[in-house]
Amino acid sequence: MGSRLKLFLPLFLFAVLALLLFRGLSLDPMEMPSALIDRPLPAFSLPELASGELLDAAAVAGEVSLLNVWATWCVSCRVEHPYLVSLADSGVRILGLNYKDEDAAALRWLQDLGNPYQFNIADRQGTLALDLGVYGAPETYLLDAEGVVRYRHVGVVDERVWQTVLEPLYSELRAAVAAESP
């Protein structure tokens, strides 16, 4: 009897494999969480896009915000832009990281399409982006009031993404800040 039982081992192993593959169908192998979750924004010293004044991590902190990585050469960024404008209008603090772009073109773009960003970090060489673990545009980071990275979304931010993924966390962080303030 024991030896017959042994013969069921391959079937059992296959069942485990099949379950794993089934689970795999609902996972996305290319989805990558940021390596900086729950870590502060890396130190940097880069100029602001419009004014040229030097910014550092302290300028970013202070309020729960979105850091949006964008560029004029990025087609999807153009697609997401109107929604970001509407988000900014509704009171969300959005900061921009202009990724490996040309200042003049970027400023023109903002002029033509609207500016949802409180300010823009001009990362012409992509150094801050590299430290952040950015690998393409658009990407959007959710930062808490201390400037700690809480979440990263890769790809376009639209209504669905905001409602299902970003908004809940955003509200939670805002509530935490409100609870702390006297």
């Binding site: 087609v75 673990g133 950015v134 790809g155 639209d158």
Partner: protein, 158 residues
């Protein structure tokens, strides 16, 4: 068919990164040993957004940036371990093609050994049961009688 934006984006990225172009940078190394380390390390690091390519073979912009970062790190005198940690700190374990021997990935490195040991055990067990100790069973009297019977009946026919 509902075409989602994410799908289009994924498709664009897929098409873009499918271009496996020969990626050839002409970095000048101050030391040939550094160039060798550059080649071997660029094969250890994965391009974060490509469809399974190392940064040596991929032409994606992020790959180019990582190769430049690798070059700068090497020239600045960092060790292999430090360079890999530097990359992992930014892009996560995903970016290493050789999983580290720690935590959950230990099982990956141990599996071949475990399998070999299991295999050796199976071989030993099998040989033991089949070997001369298992022995050949001599025919019992009843079996021998049956054999004689059969042989007698078959004689003359083929």
């Amino acid at each position: 068919m509902r075409i989602s934006l994410g799908g289009v984006l994924a498709l664009l990225i897929t098409l873009w990164s499918l271009q496996a172009l020969a990626v050839i940078e002409t970095y000048e190394f101050s030391d040939p040993a550094l160039e060798e380390r550059y080649h071997s390390l660029s094969e250890e690091l994965r391009c974060p957004k490509c469809q399974n390519q190392n940064i040596a073979d991929s032409n994606a912009p992020i790959s180019r940036d990582l190769r430049r970062l690798l070059y700068e790190q090497l020239e600045s005198g960092a060790s292999d371990g430090e360079i890999l940690e530097h990359m992992v700190a930014r892009y996560g374990e995903f970016v290493r093609y050789r999983p580290r021997f720690a935590g959950a990935t230990v099982i990956l490195w141990l599996t071949p050994f475990i399998l070999l040991l299991a295999g050796a055990a199976i071989v030993a067990l099998t040989l033991r049961s089949k070997g001369s100790r298992g022995g050949e069973h001599p025919l019992s009297d009843a079996e021998r009688a049956r054999v004689d019977n059969l042989l007698a009946n078959r004689e003359g026919s083929d």
